[in-house]
């Protein structure tokens, strides 16, 4: 063990046992680490950590000051809730409630509730933290030395560790290789164009103005702070290496933009809430695989006839859908079906159009402090992307019907068809070429 771990002698006997147990548990597992930084070898201590999987949660001593602050925040929240309940029962009007809500938004923290001393004793937060201190686990699942080894290995060799695409293991890559692949993708002028900070801030101001203009009707059902965040940043761009596809030196990456801190995150979520009930009117939509199983169970095929199973895939669907077409199709769908279903809140066509503009027109990306703008297709991390793509594809493909179709289902960009081909006399592959003509 001393040869495997350089720090083995520094550990206490109990810690040595824990490390040995971890080593013996992981040594039997199949290696799922892909090393793209050859000839560099991955040390055993790093391998052990990575074999546990990136979702593994190790324990560490918690920050008790933070727990104390959280407990205090809990006290404040509960007291305000009781305060409003009490006021409501004593005949508080709707306007008064809205004013109180605005006050909460303006000064969200440090706005102490007058009821706090009546509900909680002074020592409560302290007692709570003390209790937590007593029940905390004393030992970490991964020893600090192992984590330090991992940290040192990554920083010394300037590496990047990422989960690979399609859950095919963990990739260890050199930062230079990773950056080359990222910039190769970002330099595709048909999809992205470089942007500058002044353009970004101008667009963001424009966005804020438009949202504030809509404030009058939005505010009735939702808090503005959910729609318009105080702090925001462009989407973070990263890639996941596609190691399942053939490659020469370094695999092609799947581009992903994390929109979690974007200014239009709230608006996109709101738009998704409206589009979801509308997308249920798409007849061939598959919600998930249990839905498909349920539909397949209720298909009865004639034993005397000939059938063929086909799966089709729309090539890079998100990039190929033009934003204008997406907006037109969603509007068309809204006009046709909004009256047939109850939407989460009343919304006019004009307001819906503005929501679409706000959600789809601000696709800024950031990588290593460089700004880019995605001008082709819909953004991959946007909350409303799935619903927008579903509805757009449904309108675009609605004319694709055939008498031979027995079953048709579509899950975003994957299509499944069952065709009855008893009457077809030419070879199937030849016939399919004419059936799917140029497109397929």
């Amino acid at each position: 063990m001393k040869k495997v771990f350089s720090f083995y002698d520094k550990l206490s006997k109990r810690e040595q046992r824990t490390v040995y147990k971890l080593y013996s548990e992981t040594s039997t597992q199949v290696d799922s680490i892909h090393n793209f930084a050859t000839p560099l070898l991955i040390p055993t201590s790093v391998k052990i950590c990575l074999k546990l999987g990136l979702k593994f949660s190790y324990s560490q001593k918690p920050n008790f000051n933070q727990i104390y602050r959280c407990a205090n925040e809990g006290i404040r929240k509960i007291s305000w809730q009781v305060f409003y309940f009490n006021k409501n029962e004593n005949g508080m009007t709707e306007t008064e409630r809205i004013i109180h809500n605005i006050k909460k938004v303006i000064c969200p923290s440090h706005y102490k509730c007058p009821l706090e001393p009546f509900l909680f004793s002074r020592q409560f937060a302290n007692n709570f933290t003390l209790k937590m201190r007593n029940v905390t686990q004393k030992h970490s699942k991964i020893h600090e030395f192992l984590l330090n080894d991992l940290k040192e290995f990554v920083t010394k060799h300037d590496l990047i560790i990422r989960q690979s695409d399609k859950n095919a293991g963990i990739c260890v890559m050199r930062r230079t290789d990773y950056n080359t692949e990222v910039f190769r993708q970002l330099q595709d002028e048909q999809t992205y164009r470089p942007s500058v900070f002044s353009e970004y801030s101008l667009k963001m101001n424009d966005f804020s103005d438009k949202v504030r203009y809509l404030n009058n009707w939005l505010f009735q059902s939702l808090k503005i702070k959910r729609i318009l965040p105080l702090s925001y940043s462009p989407a973070k761009f990263y890639i996941l290496p596609k190691i399942h596809k053939s490659f020469d030196k370094f695999p092609v990456g799947r581009p992903i933009s994390s929109t979690i801190k974007c200014i239009n995150k709230g608006i996109s979520m709101l738009l998704d809430k409206i589009l979801q009930p509308l997308s249920l009117f798409v007849p061939d939509l598959l919600i998930d695989s249990p839905h498909l199983l349920l539909l397949l169970q209720h298909i009865k095929l004639d034993p005397g006839k000939k059938y063929i199973l086909i799966t089709a895939d729309i090539n890079s669907m998100y990039l190929e859908l033009p934003i204008n077409v997406c907006k037109q199709n969603c509007l068309k769908f809204f006009r046709s079906y909004s009256k047939l279903t109850k939407l989460p809140f009343p919304i006019t066509e004009e307001q819906f159009k503005t929501l679409l503009d706000l959600s789809l027109d601000y696709s800024f990306l950031e990588y290593q402090n460089d700004l880019y703008f995605q001008h082709r297709g819909i953004q991959m991390g946007n909350s409303a992307s799935v619903s927008v793509a579903n509805i757009t594809a449904a309108v675009e493909l609605e004319n694709m019907k055939s008498e031979l179709l027995v079953f048709k289902g579509r899950f975003i960009d994957d299509i499944i068809l069952i065709l009855e081909i008893s009457s077809i006399e030419v070879p199937i592959s030849e016939w399919l070429n004419t059936f799917f003509r140029i497109g397929f």
Binding site: L22, S32, L52, K55, L119, I243, L292, T311, I314, E403
Partner: protein
């Protein structure tokens, strides 16, 4: 005729076909000789199936329910009894490698044997029920289900949902086993000490819930290293 229909001005497609077996989503769909449709679960050949390691510091109930929910997926997907059995055994082997205790896997397997596939396929989620009520009411009739449109509209409403729930967020919930229960109990105990009758009535309506964010996972640690 059917020609010239499946084509589009800007969308391009790739297709595969077979008269016997195709893969779609996570399913292998096959046609038998008498044209009945059979399904089994499909796994991508590259997928490593690295389930969460049992010694991870996640809440215990989550780790215990993981083999069960993966088993449910297999029962739902496999229409053939023998393939279901072999897939379930294979799944348990995979969990064994990730250090799941033998007793837990054994009891999960026993529990899974008593589950009926047809009952498992019964539509439950409101979104699915709504879709079926519009396009395939015959399936709902088969399961004796009647669905009211208003139910969905109310459930999907973003306003007024979780009206009475208060979430107290502890970022290090995972490190302290059972912290959720302890915290909730302590807060409720403290609140019940309140003597004002008017306030007591309001306290009864409260629904205190503890939530957490996963902070100490390896992925976060590595993310920070990647940023550096």
């Amino acid at each position: 005729m059917a020609q010239h229909i499946f084509s589009h001005r800007f969308l391009k497609f790739t297709y595969e076909f077979s008269s016997k077996l195709i893969t779609f989503l996570d399913l292998n769909i096959s046609l038998s000789e008498n044209n009945s449709i059979e399904t089994t679960i499909y796994r991508k050949p590259v997928s490593k199936h690295e389930f969460l390691h049992y010694s991870s510091n996640h809440p215990r109930h989550l780790l215990k329910s993981l083999p069960y929910s993966c088993g449910l997926r297999i029962i739902r997907s496999c229409s053939n009894y023998e393939t279901k059995q072999s897939e379930l055994n294979l799944l348990m082997e995979k969990f064994k490698v990730r250090n799941y205790p033998y007793e837990l896997l054994e009891s999960t397997l026993n529990k899974l044997h008593n589950i009926d596939r047809i009952e498992l396929l019964r539509p439950k989620s409101k979104i699915l029920l709504h879709h079926l009520s519009i396009h395939r009411p015959d399936i709902l009739g088969h399961y004796d289900l009647i669905f009211n449109n208003i139910q969905l509209a109310e459930s999907s409403s973003c306003a007024n949902s979780n009206k009475h729930s208060i979430f107290i967020v502890f970022p290090f919930f995972n490190n302290i086993r059972g912290m959720g229960g302890i915290a909730r109990k302590m807060f409720i105990q403290e609140l019940t000490k309140c003597r004002s009758r008017a306030l007591q009535k309001c306290i009864c309506d409260l629904n205190i819930r503890i939530s957490f964010s996963l902070s100490n996972s390896l992925s976060r640690f590595i993310q920070n290293l990647n940023k550096a």
